[in-house]
């Protein structure tokens, strides 16, 4: 009888231990997140990862947090890819694995001040803070570009950097990100993939 009880206890403890899942914690800061329809849309996109728990979105700060089972081994690349694929711009991301190990991602920084020296401008279509984040990020990703600032009201993008980077190259990069500009028009397919609030008037 005693043996049977002990066996039952061992089976129960083992079962409980097996069924207790460990979770990794994910924190992502998305640049320019401002409208609820897009923010909740981002949450919906992440629900494609089955098993997401404890989802918190702070629209004001752009912070998006959730837990995910560690055995699914969700990587930083997959997270950043999902954010980009959904049309959003990741700024910072941190994964705290269940065992305390941390991984971080930081997007390239925009130079704080833009000088008039060698400054060039281009008119770029867009609507909101998310557009701003995407346009500036696309320009900053070009080797030789030092700074890029887009004004939501005037639609003017000012950028500085190596003169060997042509205006057309910059325009093409912006169009690839989904934004029409004075030199190049974005394809319909890329435009259609922008989040709702970024759909500027064509």
């Amino acid at each position: 009888m005693k043996h049977l009880l002990t066996l039952c206890m061992v089976v129960l403890v083992s079962f409980t231990m097996l069924s207790q899942k460990e979770y990794d914690h994910f924190q992502i800061q998305v640049d320019g997140l401002g409208c609820p329809f897009c923010a909740y849309g981002l949450e919906k996109k992440f629900k494609e990862f089955k098993g997401l728990k404890k989802i918190v979105i702070d629209i004001e700060s752009g912070n998006f947090e959730f837990d995910y089972p560690e055995d699914k081994k969700l990587t930083m690349d997959a997270i950043i890819d999902q954010v980009n694929k959904s049309g959003y711009t990741p700024k910072i991301a941190k994964i705290t694995r269940f065992d305390g190990f941390e991984e971080t991602f930081t997007a390239s920084e925009n130079n704080a001040a833009i000088s008039n020296k060698n400054m060039r401008t281009i008119i770029v279509q867009g609507n909101c803070e998310m557009c701003k984040a995407r346009i500036e990020k696309s320009v900053l990703s070009i080797a030789g570009i030092e700074s890029a600032f887009w004004n939501k009201d005037t639609k003017e993008l000012q950028f500085t950097g190596n003169k060997s980077v042509s205006q057309k190259e910059v325009a093409q990069q912006i169009a690839n990100a989904g934004h029409d500009n004075e030199l190049i028009t974005a394809t319909q397919e890329v435009y259609d993939n922008l989040p709702p609030c970024c759909l500027y008037k064509k």
Binding site: C35, P36, F37, E43, N127, P196, C197
Partner: protein, 266 residues
């Protein structure tokens, strides 16, 4: 001579009756961390959907919280009918019905992808089906689909709100930055606001003679007559508005970002 004066007086009186009365900012009610997307009234109680908080809250006329009901997933533009609250759950792809007893049931609908708005008028129901870029309209137990993705008349780019009136269906065609009007057979009748430079027409409210539109990114509310003629633009103390409603001669405007409600009076 007498007759002429009398006629002039009658004409003047009739003209003044038809004259639009402007709204003026009265006060702002601060909400306690309620980022409201939709507003409606049930049995004289004001209800708000708190999208960030995944809950519905009822407030009094001072903006103080009276009641809250949790466990919704991103409730959006709510509506009320015969004491029931109709709640589109954007995160759950369902429409919930909250009975006066607070018992929750679900409305059977075609498959939805992020419902953002619902309205019931008599036995007719309309749903703004956000990611499917369409309006679902039910009448006589049959659902019809209105619209598809696009920017031409009769097409939508992420509709967020809908209202049925006696003869028509009004749609906040949010990211085409306009309002569209349809017959109850789904025929496009009218487009309003395409030339108003709206940046995200997120919420609408229609009365017998006026249309109210929230212009989310531009922090404005635009008021037109039902032919689409602009009557007034409200901008004072409005920030990221998502919905509007007239309650007892006051215009209630939800400021999503500020977690507040701006009240306008005449």
């Amino acid at each position: 001579m007498k007759k002429t004066i009398l006629l002039s007086l009658v004409t003047l009186t009739l003209a003044s009756c038809n004259q639009y009365q402007n709204w003026f900012f009265e006060k702002e009610l601060q909400l306690n961390n309620v980022h409201a997307i939709g507003i409606t009234t049930v049995n004289n109680q004001i209800w708000l959907s708190d999208g960030n908080g995944n809950r519905l809250v009822s407030i009094n006329e001072q903006g103080e919280l009276i009641n809250e009901i949790k466990n919704f997933e991103r409730p959006m533009h709510i509506s009320a009918f015969e004491g029931n609250l109709l709640i589109p759950e954007y995160g759950r792809d369902t429409i919930s019905i909250l009975k006066p007893s607070f018992k929750k049931t679900s409305l059977i609908t075609p498959k939805l992808d992020a419902p953002a708005g619902i309205h019931q008028w008599k036995k007719e129901i309309a749903i703004a089906d956000f990611y499917n870029h369409r309006i679902l309209y039910k009448s006589k137990n049959k659902w019809i689909i209105i619209g598809e993705k696009g920017s031409h008349n009769g097409q939508f780019n992420y509709p967020t709100d809908v209202q049925i009136t006696e003869n028509n269906i009004y749609v906040a065609d949010a990211y085409n930055h306009r309002v569209q009007v349809f017959s109850k057979t789904g025929k496009h009748l009218q487009t309003i606001g395409a030339d108003f430079n709206i940046n995200a027409a997120t919420g609408i409210y229609v009365t017998d003679s006026k249309l109210y539109i929230t212009d989310f990114e531009n922090n404005r509310v635009i008021i037109t007559d039902l032919k689409g003629k602009k009557l007034q633009t409200l901008e004072e103390n409005i920030e990221k508005p998502t919905d509007i409603l007239v309650i007892k001669n006051q215009l209630w405007i939800l400021n999503f970002k500020k977690s507040s409600i701006s009240l306008y009076k005449r």
